[in-house]
């Protein structure tokens, strides 16, 4: 087990290990090469999987492949990766959490399959393939089944590698949430893989999960907008994964199971005791026919049963994956829920045993047990096991942390420490805390040599502190661990270690230091890497163990958390904060932290937004975010892996300095005025080279790795210009460009161009709100002397004010602000002519101008056409007697196109259109002697009315209609 766990952490290595056998020993033997090839080649089983995998992928891809995905997903590479698993891994460079997941799943499945179920074997295979490929096949499946979800899944799949890494390094707040999502989806996908019949399932599951989220914790908003919520959601996801694994056996898509937190609890039960639920699940695996009574509602076809095993496995994998990547995060959770983990541990063990027994695969048993632990984390209730487990986990964690930490340096640890500090007054713990500190450092050491080096460093530090006189005053608990002499490690454990302190567990408390302390900056990816390295070095055993423990703790923590959340809002909130902190740190972006604070303030608000969580809008948003993070991860991970550790350290320091600045600002003033901040120091210089980027409203300071520098933005703009995609896509792209410009404080001709482009597109799409945003920015930019199409936009502004705001004072000031030259401009002249036509109510001139409108003036006028026509017809029915010919009206009101020589083009069509329009507005038509259609003006004058727009939506914006979301790219 331990080996497996380690493998998982290691990622690619793990996969190879798994494939080869369940044996721990095998794993070390395998070189931890990041490339997927290794893993594939390594074991026969794996190989088979791999073979299957491509096939599956292709088939699935053929069916489900979404062209859009590519688009939406920033990285084409990712797609490629999905198709070719090895590539992905290699590109990632980091052992991604997803990979780690895979290994687990593989091992589990293998164990199951060989011993007992040949039948399932088949099912398992797909699974394994999926898992190995991870997202490739499975995701596509899901995607196909459910479009909106697809995006998620896609993101998930792509992200998976990334997302995991993301957690690790990215540290973005959102990332975690997404990661979870991804996992979750993967579950579904897995199911798919096992049984094709289940296509529908992913969808169902998803929906069920959503509902469950909502239901389970009303207090905890499900997928709602805020990142913080997502944090909350974590527990959910976990729950889901668990239930799914449990419930799936019964019914591939056991919505019922998933729905509520209760399911989770039930799951936990089984874990504690083999009998009811647990057994059922297992049984289901063994015998397809067996449908657990408990889950009866969800019982599906036999195929589903097949799926079950897969699902279970997947579930395991999920959790695993979570753990590994999540390790850093787990700290937070851990702290809050420290007590629970123990329980979970126990529970887990039990199920594990069951597993092992049933399957009788000795080698696997260890693995399974570990896995089980992970999965099970379920029951907080089972208190007895607690104390026992915890110490172990803590120790292990500590060890792991120590080992891993060097790379990350102080990041996660400080946070935890800070918490601990809060609990324990400094005065008392002073000597103790220092000891702890040195212990922490020492524990990280892998081997004796390192230890020695560490000790000397500690000695130095201590001496320095003594000479400084800071020995007693220094907060050793918050003191960042120094980098290990050799850069080996990862920190996830550290966090857990910190968590391990009983005090930290239970409560959400304020940290002494601000959350965003630079310390937090450790990267998950880095952590993972170190682990891998550790494996390579041969210290696999201990690492594995630790990682497993970590995982367990994590799960437990999460479960606990999930339980807590619904019950206790207060606890929830603190956790969130902590998470945020930890995330931000991984991002390495000191700036991030500053905003996360505000975010916290908004947490409540977001929480309340739960209801919206399931809306398509929200889904779309999530998709956005996840994608974005993907990219972020990508780039950041790359840079990291490439950069020497020392370099990265330096980087971290620099960032820290910035964040420290921000922090101090916040701490000092609490509410330091925005104006007082030194924006120059905080201005971001982007490094992202991606041309395409989805828009995500920033909720924290921008990460330079996701911000594109000016020359890239130029390319992005021309890409949008030449793109043939729809407005929504372009709008999204332009918004992200605008955002990047803003965060980099670029205000020049390019900025003007971007806003002008966006404003024009918005006009063409009739998106006035967006247009107004651009327009107001443009006004400012022009005023500040940036060149652009000033006259053109002056005309738009005039038209906008006169047609759509109806504010006389605005119109006056707009007109008064026009320069003499502006008034000579064609477009402005046109706008002024429109104004005078409006003021005298001259609809004939209005529609003439409408046809001759330069630029996009017609777009603005078009929005007014309906009203103008109605006014005109009212006027005509009042003043004309006895009749007006429809043809004339059609011509006057712009229904007819008049050729240059005055002849009517398509006269019939147009007057038909006019006739329809007239009828729709209550005009009474009659045919005169000559057979010409006339409006009976006297009769019509009392019957005219403005019909309700057919496509009206309750919220007034048809573009937000649900159906539209599915069409969005």
């Amino acid at each position: 087990m331990a080996s497996h766990g380690a493998a998982a952490a290691a990622g690619s290595d793990a996969t190879s290990v798994e494939v080869s056998g369940m044996c721990q020993t095998n794993q070390p033997a395998y070189p931890p090469v990041p490339s997927g090839d290794h893993s594939w080649s390594s074991s026969t089983g794996a190989a088979t999987v791999s073979w299957n995998y491509p096939v599956d992928n292709q088939s699935q891809a053929a069916v489900y492949y979404d062209p859009q995905r590519d688009v939406s997903v920033s990285g084409d590479n990712q797609n490629v990766a999905s198709s070719v698993p090895p590539v992905v891994q290699s590109t990632m460079g980091l052992t991604s959490a997803s990979q780690s997941h895979v290994p687990y799943s593989n091992s589990l499945q293998h164990g199951y399959n060989p011993p007992e179920y040949t039948n399932y074997y088949y099912n398992n295979y797909p699974q394994t393939t999926n898992t190995s490929a991870q997202q490739g096949g499975a995701n596509q499946h899901s995607g196909a089944a459910y479009q909106p979800l697809t995006s998620f899944q896609n993101s998930g799949s792509y992200v998976d590698p990334t997302s995991n890494t993301y957690y690790n390094d990215g540290g973005h707040q959102t990332a975690p949430g997404y990661g979870t999502n991804n996992y979750y989806y993967q579950h579904d996908t897995w199911n798919h893989g096992s049984s094709e019949n289940n296509y529908a399932q992913p969808y169902q599951n998803c929906s069920s999960s959503d509902t469950s989220l909502v239901q389970s914790s009303s207090s905890v908003p499900a997928n709602s907008f805020s990142y913080q919520q997502q944090y909350n959601q974590w527990p959910y996801y976990y729950n889901h994964s668990v239930p799914s694994s449990a419930g799936n056996p019964v019914a591939g898509s056991s919505n019922t199971d998933n729905r509520s937190v209760n399911t989770v609890s039930s799951y936990s039960y089984p874990s504690s005791e083999p009998p009811p639920p647990g057994t059922t699940s297992w049984k289901s695996n063994s015998g397809p026919s067996v449908a657990p009574p408990v889950q009866a509602p969800g019982v599906l076809e036999p195929q589903n049963q097949y799926v079950k095993p897969a699902q279970e496995i997947s579930g395991f994998q999920y959790q695993y994956g979570y753990h590994a990547p999540g390790a850093p995060l787990s700290q937070n959770y851990y702290a809050n829920q420290a007590v629970y983990p123990q329980n979970t541990m126990n529970v887990n063990h039990v199920p594990v045993n069951n597993h092992g027994d049933q399957h009788k695969s000795g080698s696997l048993t260890t693995d399974t047990s570990s896995e089980n632990k992970v999965q099970v984390p379920v029951n907080p209730r089972i208190a007895p096991g607690f104390s026992m487990v915890i110490p172990k986990s803590e120790k292990k964690i500590l060890g792991a942390d120590l080992a891993k930490k060097p790379a990350y340096v102080s990041v996660s640890v400080p946070e935890n420490d800070a918490k601990a500090v809060q609990h324990v007054p400094d005065a008392r713990s002073l000597p103790f805390s220092l000891r702890n500190y040195s212990m922490r450092n020492l524990n990280r050491c892998k081997d004796e040599a390192q230890k020695v080096a560490c000790q000397s460093i500690i000695q130095e530090i201590t001496n320095k502190a003594i000479s400084d006189g800071t020995l007693l005053t220094k907060n050793w608990d918050t003191e960042p661990l120094f980098p290990l002499p050799e850069n080996l490690l990862t920190t996830p454990e550290t966090s857990s270690a910190n968590n391990s302190s009983p005090l930290s567990t239970s409560t959400p408390r304020r940290r002494l230091k601000s959350r965003w302390e630079p310390v937090l900056e450790g990267n998950v990816t880095d952590k993972v890497e170190p682990v891998a390295k550790a494996l390579m070095n041969g210290s696999t055993q201990s690492v594995f163990v630790t990682s497993n423990n970590m995982v367990n703790n994590w799960d437990a923590g999460k479960f606990l958390q999930s339980r807590h959340t619904p019950l206790n809002k207060i606890t929830k909130r603190p956790t969130k904060k902590q998470k945020i902190g930890s995330y931000s740190s991984p991002m390495q972006n000191g700036n991030t932290s500053s905003d996360s604070d505000k975010e916290q303030g908004l947490t409540k608000y977001y929480t309340n937004a739960t209801a919206l969580a399931n809306s398509p809008e929200e889904k779309k948003r999530r998709e956005h975010r996840s994608k974005r993070f993907e990219k972020g991860k990508d780039s950041s991970s790359k840079s990291r892996s490439s950069a020497a550790n020392k370099d990265s350290m330096a980087h971290v320091r620099a960032r820290r300095a910035i964040s420290a600045l921000v922090t101090s600002n916040y701490e000092d003033g609490g509410s330091l005025a925005v104006e007082d901040m030194d924006w120059d120091a905080l201005t971001v210089k982007g490094t992202c080279q991606e041309i395409e980027k989805r828009y995500l409203r920033l909720t924290s300071a921008p990460d330079p790795s996701t911000v594109r520098p000016e020359h890239v933005l130029e390319k992005a703009l021309s890409m949008v210009d030449t793109s043939l995609k729809n407005y929504l896509y372009k709008c999204d792209q332009l918004k992200s460009i605008r955002q990047d410009l803003t965060v980099q404080r670029i205000q020049n001709e390019l900025t003007v161009k971007v806003y002008e482009t966006h404003a024009r597109l918005a006009l063409q799409a009739g998106d006035l709100p967006e247009f107004n945003q651009c327009q107001s920015q443009l006004k400012r930019l022009y005023r500040e002397g940036n060149k652009g199409c000033y006259f053109e936009f002056s005309a738009y502004n005039l038209l906008c004010v006169m047609l759509h705001s109806n504010n006389k004072r605005d119109l006056l000031s707009s007109m008064a602000s026009l320069s003499k030259e502006a008034k000579q401009d064609g477009a402005v002249k046109h706008a002024l002519a429109v104004h005078s036509a409006l003021s005298s109510g001259n609809y004939v001139i209005f529609f003439k101008l409408y046809k001759q409108a330069p630029n996009l003036n017609s777009c603005l006028m078009e929005l007014y056409v309906e009203r103008m026509r109605f006014e005109a017809i009212k006027c005509m029915s009042r003043s004309y007697r006895p009749t007006v010919p429809v043809v004339y009206v059609a011509q006057i009101l712009g229904f007819l196109r008049i050729d240059t020589d005055g002849s009517v083009l398509n006269g019939d069509d147009r007057s038909d259109e006019c006739e329809i329009w007239l009828k729709a507005h209550g005009a009474i038509l009659s045919v005169d002697n000559s057979g010409e259609l006339q409006i009976d003006t006297k009769a019509s004058s009392t019957t005219l009315y403005m019909p309700e727009p057919e496509n009206a939506v309750a919220h007034g914006d048809a573009s937000l209609a649900v159906g539209d979301f599915f069409a969005r790219t």
């Binding site: 005078s836 005509m876 003043s879 004309y880």
Partner: protein, 409 residues
């Protein structure tokens, strides 16, 4: 200005000023207090300001002598000093602090004896803010003092809009607020003040001083012009005109500047003499065009004075007179036709109209003119109907051109 002021003399002058201030407060002498608070109206050099310049420690002197006024007097002296040295931004800041302290005290005084002083403070703070903003704008900074003055005056208004004798002072502050809001272009902020003045039961409009009423009516009338609410605007501006002090011609002119366009739009034309008396010649051509039905002249007049009219905000009102000019034109044609051909006087051919307009130098095609006629009928400027088939405007035989009679278009 004294070339040199001894410390003793400066000390004496400052003490003198402080004593007078203190006495005015203790004697409840509002007028005296008000005169002592008039900071901005003082010339650059007064005996007091010289003394302040010569005796830099005046703030401590003031707070030592009158500890109970220590949050008021030093700030006031600082404001006077800064103002005399033409540091208006500083002067405003100090004065606002002093004014806040004063307002605090004012709230505690049961009788409205200090109303005059309060009004002076309200006026001073606005004037100082305007000066400060000018100074800030010149130095490229954000001129936000007037806005700050606005929010301070809202506080003053809150202190006055209570039951009791103080409420009669509220309208003065309201008018100061109007002035600020109009200057800042944030006239929508007026609405809340207006609502409390017009709806609150503790205000009886007639109780307010006439000068405040006139000012108030003038500003609210202007607001109604913006909203093209001509009847109400007419009523308010007429009230202001009638009650305005006939001696203050500049005020009358200001009122007329808005009242005339309003009256024009409801069909009441001013005499040439009136326009000349109040130097409102920019309206003369417009009035002429209305009487003659000369569309070209109207357009010219609007063009000539466009900037001015746009700035004052009556451009859009005058622009709408176009329809009245058309009506006048049709009426003239009708009169001529009636002389020539009484039988068909009420039928006006579209061709004739188009020709007439062309003669005026306005190129319009038949459809456009037809549309204008339809609009005239639609808006009740002309009684009758338009026969599309024969392209004839048929006028009602009875009162084809109804008088507007105060009805807006």
């Amino acid at each position: 200005m004294a070339a040199y002021l001894s410390m003793g003399e400066a000390h004496r002058r400052i003490n003198d000023y402080l004593s007078r201030l203190s006495d005015a407060i203790s004697d409840s002498d509002g007028a005296a207090l008000a005169s002592l608070l008039a900071v901005s109206s003082a010339p650059a050099s007064t005996p007091l300001s010289d003394a302040l310049a010569a005796f830099p420690d005046f703030a401590r002197l003031a707070s030592d002598r009158f500890p109970h006024l220590s949050d008021f007097l030093p700030q006031l002296l600082r404001a006077i000093h800064s103002h005399s040295t033409r540091r208006f931004s500083d002067a405003y800041s100090s004065f606002e602090k002093a004014a806040s302290a004063f307002l605090q005290e004012f709230r505690n005084w049961e009788t409205p004896w200090a109303m005059e002083a309060m009004h002076t403070v309200a006026l001073e703070i606005r004037l100082l803010a305007e000066k400060a903003d000018r100074e800030l704008a010149m130095s490229g900074k954000n001129p936000d003092k007037l806005q700050a003055a606005g929010s301070f005056l809202m506080k003053v208004f809150g202190a006055l809009a209570v039951k009791g004798p103080k409420r009669v002072g509220a309208l003065y502050v309201t008018c100061q607020l109007f002035k600020i809001y109009f200057r800042l272009g944030t006239v929508n902020l007026c609405r809340s003040v207006i609502r409390s003045i017009e709806t609150a039961r503790n205000f009886d409009f007639e109780d307010f001083p006439v000068k405040d009423k006139v000012t108030y009516m003038y500003y609210t009338g202007r607001l109604e012009v913006f909203n093209e609410n001509f009847l109400v605007a007419d009523q308010k501006l007429t009230y202001a005109l009638v009650h305005c002090n006939p001696q203050s011609e500049s005020n009358l002119r200001k009122i007329l500047k808005f009242l005339i366009p309003v009256k024009l739009s409801i069909g009441v034309l001013p005499s040439r003499a009136l326009l000349e008396k109040y130097n409102l010649i920019e309206y003369a051509d417009i009035v002429t065009s209305l009487t003659r039905g000369d569309l070209r002249l109207l357009k010219q007049a609007l063009d000539t004075h466009e900037d001015q009219l746009l700035k004052s905000g009556v451009y859009l009102v005058l622009e709408k007179l176009e329809l009245q000019v058309y009506r006048r034109l049709v009426k003239k044609i009708h009169i001529i036709q009636r002389q020539k051909e009484p039988a068909k006087a009420h039928q006006i051919k579209l061709d004739v109209l188009v020709k007439t307009l062309r003669w005026l130098g306005i190129q319009m095609d038949v459809d456009e003119v037809e549309c204008i006629m339809a609009c005239l009928i639609y808006k009740n400027l002309i009684k009758g109907y338009f026969a599309h088939k024969s392209k004839v405007l048929v006028l009602s035989k009875q009162d084809p051109f109804p008088k507007l009679n105060g009805k807006p278009i």
